[in-house]
């Protein structure tokens, strides 16, 4: 049977992409090494608003821009609020072009576009932090993609390869419905931790190590003996990644 990455050419099954062959019984798929993000329902994504018109359009490294409907966000003022025409006019006050959001995939349209929702307090607009864009295939699927790392920063590992690093918020505030962003200055030590994490992510990505909370944390720990800026040097990168992989092996056994 033909799966993804194949097509039938004169009754013969032929690969259309270069990559790894996967077989499930008689179904044959070929998955390429790197592609755009193929969203599935329930995936956590980080994206950027590109257009505001009745619905928000979100760039998520996918084949088509994803949509975020007005009816699939939590507006300030409680769950059970009706959406009026006025809300439609004030959409830009909640999310503007260029804003970053975290969201979950609600459904996939027939043409492959994703429909997102932010109807949970953990999703919503992202404030101060750093975005790292990586390949979607490097993100390990897990129960949760939101982590408060013990090193003093938090991380959102979007399934679409966009990773958001931000200082751990002091306490959870909710009445603004996820559109509130803190503009408090971030302390130097927090910024250093975030920059180090960013460089660690790039190091892991360069060596194609799967990203999840443990691997990021181990990489962070192994990088502590170097300066933040040195982490990007190829030889230091290799050393750190090697140490991380050792720690991961020990952790597994």
């Amino acid at each position: 049977f033909r799966g993804h990455g194949t097509y039938v050419d004169e009754e013969k099954l032929t690969a259309s992409v270069a990559g790894e062959v996967q077989r499930v019984d008689k179904l044959i798929c070929v998955s390429p090494l790197k592609t755009r993000f193929n969203g599935e329902v329930g995936d956590v994504v980080v994206g950027r608003i590109t257009e505001v018109q009745k619905r928000w359009k979100v760039e998520t490294n996918s084949r088509l821009d994803s949509v975020l409907l007005l009816s699939s966000v939590n507006l300030p003022g409680g769950e059970l609020r009706r959406r009026s025409a006025e809300d439609e006019l004030t959409m830009r006050e909640y999310l503007q072009e260029g804003d970053l959001i975290s969201a979950e995939v609600q459904s996939v349209f027939s043409d492959g576009a994703l429909s997102l929702h932010t109807r949970s307090l953990k999703y919503g607009k992202l404030g101060q932090g750093v975005l790292v864009q990586l390949s979607p295939s490097l993100i390990k699927r897990q129960k949760t993609h939101f982590h408060n790392l013990p090193c003093g920063a938090s991380i959102i590992l979007g399934n679409n390869g966009f990773v958001w690093l931000y200082p751990t918020p002091a306490q959870q505030e909710e009445e603004a419905g996820g559109f509130y962003t803190s503009l408090e200055p971030v302390s130097l030590s927090d910024r250093e931790v975030i920059s180090r994490l960013r460089n660690c992510l790039l190091a892991l990505a360069a060596h194609k190590v799967l990203l999840y909370d443990t691997s990021v944390l181990y990489c962070y720990e192994s990088s502590l003996q170097h300066q933040v800026k040195d982490v990007l040097k190829p030889e230091v990168m290799e050393e750190i990644v090697l140490l991380t992989q050792q720690k991961l092996m020990e952790h597994e056994s």
Binding site: D9, A18, L64
Partner: protein, 245 residues
């Protein structure tokens, strides 16, 4: 043509190749991290760089959106230092626009565009050094870049130019041969099925010779496809070895 003897009595060409011999092909995939796919190729002294972005949402004019397949957008350009005389306009002149159109037609035939409705695939090709067969080298570079981007294709698209001298077809012309008054044709082939993606000829040729030219071109294209296949396999092996350890 006076002076230049393109094919010697012993059957050798100006650069010492035999009539059916291709130039040395060297290629690398994945040269840029930022793009979805990229490739660099050297065919003799002709060097080209190809970059692919997409499939992504339509940018620019929304009206060009197709509801059943992806739009392919090609741009061909030549670096100002690519030719012997410095070029004034690296892209946008008549020749490059025509070349862009040819590339677009070639890849519309090869890429499975119906899998990505309402999206756009950008292919940018740049000639860094021009020494004949620009179109074919661009096609070969773009093929590798598209494969690197993980975009499904029917087959490799391989292209080659063929000239006709002294009743013999010459494969993979270089610059001096191209400008030596040879009637030449460029062929882009999907080698597995032998389908022709694009055939271009703007010189005069006797009808009887066309058949032999086409045959020589097909053989040359299949030779190119072997090389490209090797490059892709090598690249895949390297990449998978990296992710395993």
């Amino acid at each position: 043509m006076a002076g230049l003897e393109l094919l010697s009595d012993q059957g050798y060409r100006l650069d010492g190749r035999k009539a059916t011999e291709l130039r040395k092909v060297q290629a690398r995939m994945g040269v840029f991290a930022q793009a979805d796919g990229s490739a660099y190729i050297e065919q003799g002294n002709t060097k080209a760089l190809a970059v692919v972005y997409g499939p992504h949402e339509m940018r620019g004019s929304r009206s060009r959106t197709l509801h059943d397949r992806a739009v392919i957008n090609c741009q061909y350009s030549m670096a100002t230092f690519s030719t012997a005389e410095r070029k004034r306009r690296p892209h946008g002149d008549k020749k490059s626009t025509e070349m862009s159109l040819h590339l677009k037609q070639t890849f519309e035939a090869a890429i499975l565009t119906q899998l990505y409705p309402r999206s756009q695939i950008d292919i940018f090709v740049k000639i860094l050094q021009a020494d004949g067969g620009n179109y074919s080298v661009c096609v070969n570079a773009a093929t590798l870049a598209v494969i690197d981007a993980g975009i499904p294709m029917r087959d490799y698209v391989c292209a080659c130019t063929v000239g006709f001298v002294d009743e013999t077809p010459l494969a993979d012309l270089c610059y001096t041969e191209e400008n030596g008054g040879v009637s030449s044709l460029a062929l882009a082939l999907l080698p597995r099925g032998g389908q022709i993606a694009l055939l271009q000829m703007d010189a005069r040729l006797h009808q009887d010779h066309l058949e032999t030219m086409m045959e020589a071109a097909m053989i040359a294209c299949k030779g190119v496809s072997k090389v490209l296949d090797e490059v892709v396999r090598q690249h895949l092996q390297e990449a998978s070895a990296l992710s395993r350890d």
